[in-house]
Symmetry: C2
Subunit: 199 residues, 2 copies
């Protein structure tokens, strides 16, 4: 089946390992990269190595950062008494885009998932407990995804944090803004009714 030169086959295989990239897409991407000017291909390769080399996890919140304390943990303008717990650095980016939150974060880098053999020890949970135990925290907002695993992880953390004198909250459930009632699933509608507020 080997009809391309070995270095090209190898590049196709490398692309095929990426999540969501099938065989045909991998070929398409490898051929595209082969057609790039040398400096563009080099920039791509350098970007991979550079990201691996210089992106680390913030020693406090475990969010990705380019070395040392992340800009959010380092900022005196943020409310250092509130921690928003998320599963993934992309969730930090999503919440930051809303411009509604001014506290700190804690990135778990995953959720508890027995199906995938991911237990509490595989996540950045110990560092969260230490942060709360060190004091100065008044509220921990559980912002894991509203699915079974996100929910279970939030409940697990809430139990762990119970001994400490902190308010533990969960993001509100409800109809997404701009969404249509008729397309909302039953569970979401039920939560939206439960969480109804006076206007």
């Amino acid at each position: 089946m080997e009809h391309f030169p070995a270095p090209l086959e190898n590049l196709v295989e490398q692309f095929a390992r990426l999540p969501g990239i099938g065989g045909k897409s991998a070929q398409r991407l490898a051929f595209y990269v082969l057609g790039l000017p040398l400096e563009d291909a080099r920039a791509f390769a350098d970007a991979i190595l550079d990201a691996k080399r210089s992106v680390t996890c913030c020693p406090v919140c475990r969010n990705f950062t380019a070395g040392g304390l992340c800009p959010i943990c380092a900022s005196p303008k943020r409310d250092h008494s509130t921690i928003c717990v998320v599963a993934d650095p992309r969730d930090v980016a999503a919440i930051e885009r809303s411009r509604e939150y001014n506290g700190l974060y804690h990135v778990l880098h995953g959720v508890i998932s027995p199906m995938n053999h991911i237990g509490p020890d595989d996540l950045d949970i110990k560092s969260l407990i230490e942060r709360v135990a060190a004091g100065g925290i008044s509220e921990v907002i559980m912002a894991t995804n509203p699915d079974t695993e996100g929910e279970a992880t939030a409940m697990y953390l809430a139990r762990l944090l119970k001994p400490f004198d902190v308010r533990i909250t969960r993001l509100a459930y409800g109809i997404p803004v701009g969404g249509h009632l008729e397309f909302a699933d039953d569970a979401t509608l039920m939560r939206a009714l439960e969480g109804r507020r006076d206007i």
Copy 2:
């Protein structure tokens, strides 16, 4: 909008430049690569540079090769009097997979496409004419895609090769094997009827 460290943003952008990769996919891929062990990320970067460095075009047929004459042009077992003209190295791979063809190839690296400002001079056409002019060729099979541009390119080449004493053929049109008549378009059905054969 910059909520990731710069090297990570840069990697996301690099992925987003690839064809068919949108913003969300680019993020997913960049995060995946960041999560790889260092040696795997390095292997990916090396594969890009290695492919760019060592994959060249065969001086005869213009197919991709890892330096020098390609294995097909170099093989004494192939029929050196037949040339199959294709638009893309991937078409060579597709025809080789069929194990039905034993001649040589010529890769144009594109098709004539006035819409995309690709003229005959942008393709590897001159080298094809030179191969045929050098003699020893009895048949040239036009195997460009059966779409408007592939068709026009095949017709253009057929005209250029007319002065030479070679048979010029085109791949047969028809119903794809395993296909359903009811799903075949009118043009394909018409061609299939035109090209009907005795059984």
